[in-house]
C-alpha cells in the first residue's frame, strides 16, 4: 500500500500531470498525421525524459502512447486514412459513418471505445500480468506460426465483394513482404538489382501508399465537385458526447471481447495494435447478428477496432513488467527509458521498484482519462478538418504522407516506393480489389515466414505443429474460423437468391 501511495503521489503531482497533458496532446497530433506513428512520437519524446525522474518520464511516455492510439482514429474517421497501422480496421466503419453525415458520432464512438479499452486493459494488467506473461513467453515458433495462420483467416471477413479477389489481395500482400533480404539469413530476394528494393518495402510506406495515396486520389475523381469546392463531409457536425458514451456501454460484450483480444495480442512479443484491431474487428463481425452491416458504418465495428488497439497498450506492458521482455517497439523504448535511469527491468522489477510499477499502472489510467477529457474538449477543433474543401486537404495531406515516409528512414528512395505503391493501391481499388487483406498480408508475412523457418530449423518435424497443444488450438481455431466464414458466405448467397425469387 505504501508503494502504491508513493507512486500515486508522484504521478498525481501537478508537474507530472502537466507534462502528461502535453504528452497526450503530442501523441494525438502525431498519430493523426498519416505516416507519423506512435513509435516515432515516443522516440522523439525519449530524450526529453532523461532529465526527469524515472516515473515522471515513463508517465509522460505512456501518455504519448495512449494519446497516439486515439489520434490514429482522427484521420481514419475523417479522411479514411489510418493515421497509424493500429487504426486500419477503424477506417472500415468510422469513415463510412463520417461520410454518411455523422463524423462527430464516429469520432466520439472511437474515443469512448479507446478509453474503455485502455481502462479494461489496465485492470487486466494489474490482475493478470504475471500468469499471462509466463504463458506468452512459453510460446515457441510453432505456436507463433499457428497463431499467424489463425490471424490470416481474418481475410475472410475483409474480402468485400469477392472472396477470390480478397484472397488474391492477401497473397499480393504476402508476396510484397518477401521482397528484400530474407528474415533469417539476410539473403537478398527479388530486388532486381535495384537499390530501392534491396532493403525490402517498408511496411509503413506500403500502408501509406495503399491506403492514404489511393484514398486521396479517389477524393479527386469527381472533377466538377472538387472545382465547386466540395468539402470532405457535408451535414451537421455533432460530437454527441454523452449519448455516444451510453451507446458504447450498451455494447458490453463487444467492448470486453475486443479489449481482451487487444490485451492478449499485446502480451505476445512481436504482435501489437496493428494485428489486434483487425482481429477484434473480425471477432465482432463474426459474433454480430447483422454482419452485413459491417463496412457500412456500424458502431460495433468502430467500438471493436478502437477498444482492441487501445487495449494493446496495457497488454504490451505485461511481459515488460513481469519478465523484462518488450512486447513491441514502443515497449522496447519504454524499457530503454527505465534502463537509462539505472533501473533493471525483469522479474524483480515489481519487487525492487513496486512504487514505479504501481505508478505505471496509475499513469495508464490517468493518461486514458486525460485523453478522454482532451478529446471531448477539443474534438470540435479536429472536426473542422471535415469542413475544409477537398482541394486544400488532398495536396496538403499528400505532402504530410511524403514527409512521413521520408522521416521513417531518411531515404529518398522510399518516396519513389511510396508513389509506386500509391499507383498500385489506386489501381487495385479501381479494379474492386479489397485493400485491407493486402495490408494484413504485408503485416503477417514476415512473422509467418520467420516462425515457420525457425520452427523447422529447431526441429525438422512438421508434426510438431499438430502435437504441441497451444499450436493445435490455434490451428483448430483457424479451421473453425474458415468453416464459419464459408458458412456465412453460403448463407448470404442463399439469402440473396431467396430475395430475388419473389421478383
Amino acid at each position: 500500500m505504501d508503494a502504491f501511495l508513493l507512486g500515486a503521489s508522484e504521478v498525481l503531482s501537478l508537474t507530472t500531470l502537466a507534462m502528461m497533458l502535453a504528452g497526450a496532446v503530442a501523441g494525438i497530433i502525431a498519430a493523426a498525421i498519416p505516416g507519423f506513428t506512435v513509435t516515432m512520437a515516443i522516440v522523439l519524446t525519449l530524450p526529453l525524459t532523461f532529465t526527469m525522474d524515472p516515473l515522471q518520464g515513463i508517465s509522460v511516455m505512456l501518455s504519448v502512447y495512449v494519446g497516439g492510439y486515439t489520434g490514429g482514429l482522427i484521420s481514419a474517421a475523417l479522411l479514411g486514412i489510418p493515421g497509424t497501422p493500429s487504426s486500419v480496421a477503424t477506417t472500415f466503419d468510422a469513415f463510412p459513418m463520417a461520410r454518411n453525415g455523422e463524423p462527430g458520432r464516429a469520432l466520439s464512438l472511437g474515443v469512448w471505445a479507446s478509453f474503455f479499452g485502455t481502462i479494461i486493459s489496465t485492470a487486466v494488467l494489474i490482475v493478470a500480468a504475471p500468469p499471462l506473461a509466463v504463458f506468452a513467453v512459453r510460446l515457441g515458433p510453432w505456436e507463433y506460426f499457428s497463431l499467424i495462420v489463425f490471424a490470416l483467416t481474418i481475410v475472410a471477413s475483409l474480402v468485400g465483394n469477392s472472396l477470390q479477389r480478397g484472397l488474391i489481395a492477401a497473397l499480393i500482400g504476402l508476396a510484397i513482404s518477401t521482397i528484400g533480404a530474407d528474415p533469417i539469413m539476410g539473403r537478398p530476394r527479388f530486388d532486381m538489382g535495384w537499390e530501392l528494393l534491396a532493403a525490402g518495402l517498408p511496411f509503413l510506406v506500403v500502408l501509406i501508399g495503399i491506403f492514404a495515396i489511393s484514398q486521396l486520389a479517389s477524393e479527386v475523381e469527381d472533377a466538377e465537385a472538387i472545382k465547386r469546392g466540395e468539402k470532405l463531409v457535408d451535414g451537421e457536425i455533432e460530437f454527441e458526447t454523452w449519448s455516444v458514451m451510453r451507446e458504447v456501454l450498451m455494447r458490453p460484450i463487444n467492448l470486453i471481447r475486443s479489449s481482451m483480444v487487444g490485451v492478449a495480442i499485446g502480451a505476445l512479443p512481436g504482435a501489437g495494435g496493428s494485428i489486434a484491431n483487425l482481429v477484434a474487428y473480425d471477432q465482432a463481425k463474426r459474433a454480430s447478428q447483422s454482419p452485413e452491416e459491417f463496412g457500412k458504418g456500424t458502431p460495433d465495428g468502430v467500438v471493436a477496432s478502437e477498444a482492441g488497439n487501445s487495449a494493446t497498450a496495457g497488454g504490451g506492458l505485461i511481459p515488460l513488467i513481469s519478465l523484462g521482455i518488450p512486447g513491441s517497439a514502443v515497449d522496447a523504448i519504454l524499457m530503454a527509458s527505465l534502463m537509462v535511469h539505472g533501473i533493471s527491468v525483469g522479474p524483480r522489477l515489481i519487487m525492487d521498484n513496486a512504487d514505479l510499477v504501481y505508478g505505471m499502472f496509475l499513469a495508464m489510467a490517468v493518461s486514458s482519462l486525460m485523453m478522454l477529457v482532451l478529446c471531448v474538449l477539443s474534438m470540435r477543433a479536429f472536426l473542422r478538418v471535415a469542413e475544409v474543401p477537398k482541394w486544400v486537404v488532398v495536396p496538403v495531406v499528400l505532402v504530410c504522407c511524403v514527409v512521413g515516409s521520408f522521416a521513417l528512414n531518411n531515404r529518398v528512395t522510399d518516396l519513389y516506393l511510396l508513389a509506386g505503391v500509391g499507383v498500385l493501391g489506386y489501381a487495385l481499388k479501381a479494379l474492386d480489389y479489397p485493400l485491407a487483406p493486402l495490408v494484413l498480408g504485408v503485416i503477417l508475412g514476415p512473422i509467418a515466414e520467420t516462425n515457420l523457418r525457425r520452427a523447422l530449423m529447431t526441429e525438422p518435424d512438421w508434426t510438431l505443429f499438430l502435437t504441441r497443444p497451444v499450436s493445435l488450438i490455434f490451428l483448430v481455431a483457424a479451421v473453425l474460423s474458415v468453416g464459419w466464414a464459408i458458412r456465412g458466405i453460403l448463407k448470404s448467397g442463399k439469402q440473396s437468391r431467396n430475395g430475388k425469387d419473389p421478383a
Partner: protein, 169 residues
C-alpha cells in the same frame, strides 16, 4: 432497359480490366516463382530463403488461373471491341486523378535535385491551383498554405525534431 442478369457495358469493361490485371499479375507471379526456385537452399535449415515465396506465388498463380477462367466465361465476345472506347472514357472522367499522380511523380523525382522546400512549394501551388475553384480567395489560400507546408515544415523538422528533409544538390 437492361434485362435481369444481363451485364451492363460498364460492368463488362470492368471485368475485362480485371482480366488484364489477372493476366499481368500471373505473369509477374510465375516469374517470381521461378526466381524463388533458383534461390539455393541453406545447409543450416530445412527450408531455404525461396521456400516461403514459392508457396505464396504457387497459391497466387493457382488463384489467378481460376480467376482468368471465370472471367473468360463471364465476358461476352463483343465486349472486347468496346473496351478501348470505355477505357478512354474512364481516363477522361478521372483526368484529375491522372494529373495528381503525374504531379506526385514529378514532385518525388525532383525533390533530391531541388530540395524539399522548393519542390513542395511548386507541387502545392500547381496541384492546389489545378484543383481549386478559380477565385482570388482560393489563390491566396493556396499560396499561404504552400509556403507554410514547404518552408515552414522544413524549418519545423530541422529546428525542432532535428530531422533534415532533402536539401537538393
Amino acid at each position: 432497359m437492361s434485362q435481369p442478369g444481363h451485364q451492363t457495358q460498364a460492368q463488362e469493361s470492368g471485368e475485362i480490366a480485371r482480366l488484364l490485371s489477372y493476366v499481368g499479375l500471373l505473369a509477374l507471379s510465375a516469374g517470381l516463382f521461378l526466381e524463388a526456385w533458383a534461390i539455393p537452399t541453406s545447409r543450416f535449415e530445412a527450408l531455404g530463403a525461396g521456400a516461403f515465396p514459392m508457396l505464396v506465388h504457387a497459391c497466387l498463380s493457382l488463384l489467378l488461373v481460376a480467376s482468368i477462367a471465370g472471367s473468360l466465361r463471364r465476358i461476352p465476345i463483343d465486349a472486347y471491341g468496346r473496351f478501348a472506347g470505355a477505357a478512354a472514357a474512364w481516363a477522361r472522367e478521372k483526368r484529375l486523378v491522372l494529373v495528381l499522380f503525374a504531379c506526385l511523380a514529378v514532385y518525388v523525382g525532383a525533390m533530391p535535385l531541388i530540395g524539399y522546400p522548393v519542390a513542395t512549394l511548386l507541387f502545392l501551388i500547381v496541384l492546389q491551383i489545378t484543383l481549386a475553384p478559380k477565385t482570388r480567395a482560393a489563390l491566396a489560400v493556396a499560396l499561404v498554405l504552400s509556403l507554410i507546408f514547404s518552408f515552414g515544415l522544413n524549418w519545423l523538422f530541422a529546428e525542432v525534431f532535428n530531422v533534415f528533409l532533402p536539401r537538393g544538390r
